[in-house]
Symmetry: C2
Subunit: 364 residues, 2 copies
């Protein structure tokens, strides 16, 4: 599997005249090498030449560990007392002699790109996303199976959490419950710190959680996910505490309808922006257009946000194997927010939801 | 507080002839602005000019949220359907007219530095760490208080977790227990995915956790921490399951002695590398030098790893307010590992431990 990914990668590099990929710990390194690690301040990089074998530059303390998880055989290690810039420079000079074109991992910490700029000021620098996103955008059935398991864990955490959610609990306690359920079910980590925005906090789309207690009449936006063997899930449900007034029910119903219609519109061959348009038009027609302040969705896989983005201006055509979120929302500043999100994968020409838990309004 | 940090920052920028700081979501942005967020694929940046007011570039959906958490008044927002490169270019051109010197957040994702390189190919680029690390390296008493609370949560999680750790539990279950305890106690997130390396897995210094079950006679390396209001904790304890043979006890005792002696050596005015040397010499004298494959410690605060690094070659003198780990270890490949780590802060001339839980070998 890794050999075939490498071959496709090097073919794209050749077409784009890229001499070297300079990759950092994260999804791109994992996709090509099998080694998964968080970014850190020590230089740990996978160098992929346009032809021939890739190689790792690793801090000595990671040597055993990288070897245990990757098929890549070439490995250069450096000690904490050495200057990694020297190792980087020598390694890249072995691969290329002329003025190189280097594609840099979009998520690599800038300190390493600055290190490279100091060593090769005249190189041409590109974003490695131009290659890696093309490779990663269409998921294989093995990848979809892992994503489905990741979504299933997130679904189960919702079902378990709402059983215990009550007026008086803090947002923080709700978040702790969600995270613990996902870990018990086998999640390796969280996709991001959960959003448990209650009442007016729900109107901040990327609020996380705080000490506010759930109050009767609140809507609470729960947006979270987990990582399972490298693959991300991401789900949003909005629940009501104790009761739900007419205005909140109305907004909920508009968002639910927008989400459903966008889901039905997501078929092979249509442009990503068309899915956004479907959701947006429903919310605009209901008079809430100005309160839907974000795109309708984002691709997902080894990153929580990746291509394809479901956003105005993106004319990319949806294709089998593409996985993305559909998550319209309405945010009334100072009052409340509603968002409903599922991950879908295009399979046999149409979108299939990976998240199966209820989209009915749950009142706890 | 933020005004005084900004003044110190701009003074350093002036001394170093830096026109602009280009900061990303993370510790540097939080330190200067009060706004704490994880990095993401949308351009969200704090631009600090050498004189005058800083300003935020934010995705529109973050506008309310940034305003709610920062004292910074100037804010430029962009919509998902716009090109952030245009906004970035226009914003920076308003601040500087000549060829600028731009210091880039060391942790900013490279995609944003590549975006900047495309707009200002002739600018001089530096690492913003040269300024930000100087500001952040000496903690105030308010910062130490938050770090002490963060450490206290980590300590309590150890005490609670070992009560339930038993032969037959998986590493993953131990990690889930640790994380849940920290969240219940008020942690906002984890410092990093916990290390719960049992038996031979303990010999991989940065192993995380897996499905291996704890076995009688194992040593288990527990290395984890939490984030409390932006401040990181980090602790390592090594425990034994059921029983502990003589070789493991001996190695434990060497590591414990190295950790204690390094702690006593950490006083104001001595070089960071001297602390490393003290720990290393004890382990070398015991014949395990080649198995101590990493530095003795790292600074900590708004990042889990920051300056000062306790490593050979670092002649930085320890000073009041500096916070760092002391964490010698011995790793016998294929057999087991031992590491003991506390966070200390230099106060009134000498190191004080923030971690108070037992360093005696706990057998569960």
């Amino acid at each position: 599997m890794y050999r075939s990914r490498l071959a496709r990668c090097q073919k794209l590099m050749s077409e784009r005249e890229i001499d070297i990929l300079f990759l950092a710990p994260g999804p791109n390194m994992y996709y090509l090498s099998g080694f998964l690690e968080e970014p850190g301040e020590r230089l740990l990089s996978l160098i992929v030449p346009q032809s021939g074998e890739p190689l790792f530059i690793v801090p000595q303390m990671y040597e055993q560990q990288v070897k245990a998880f990757t098929w890549v055989e070439k490995l250069v290690s450096w000690r904490d007392s050495e200057d990694p810039k020297t190792v980087l420079s020598a390694t890249i000079r072995q691969v290329v002699t002329k003025r190189p074109t280097i594609a840099v991992d979009n998520r690599m910490w800038s300190q390493f790109l600055l290190m490279l700029l100091a060593v090769f000021p005249d190189a041409r620098y590109l974003d490695a996303a131009s290659v890696m996103n093309l490779l990663r955008i269409k998921k294989t059935s093995e990848e979809v199976a892992l994503m489905a398991r990741s979504a299933e864990i997130a679904d189960a955490a919702f079902t378990e959490t709402v059983k215990e959610c009550r007026e008086g609990m803090t947002e923080h306690q709700v978040a702790a419950k969600i995270v613990n359920e996902m870990r018990i079910l086998g999640a390796d980590s969280v996709s991001f710190e959960p959003v448990t925005g209650s009442g007016p906090n729900g109107a901040l789309p990327h609020y996380r959680s705080g000490d506010r207690k759930l109050q009767r009449g609140d809507l609470v936006v729960l947006d979270y996910g987990c990582v399972y063997r490298g693959y991300f899930s991401d789900i949003t449900r909005t629940i009501a505490v104790g009761s739900c007034d007419d205005e909140r029910r109305k907004v909920y119903s508009i968002v639910r309808s927008a989400q459903e219609k966008a889901y039905q519109a997501a078929v092979e061959g249509i442009e990503a922006q068309s899915v956004d348009k479907v959701a947006r038009e429903i919310i605009e027609a209901a008079g809430y257009g100005q309160f839907f302040v974000h795109r309708t969705g984002h691709g997902i896989g080894l990153e929580v946000h990746e291509e394809p983005y479901i956003v105005a201006g993106n004319s990319m055509k949806l294709d089998d194997g593409m996985a993305f979120s559909i998550e319209p929302g309405i945010y009334l500043p100072g009052k409340f927010g509603v968002r409903i999100e599922d991950i879908v994968v295009i399979q046999a020409g149409k979108a299939e939801r990976l998240n199966k838990c209820t989209r009915e309004l749950v009142v706890v």
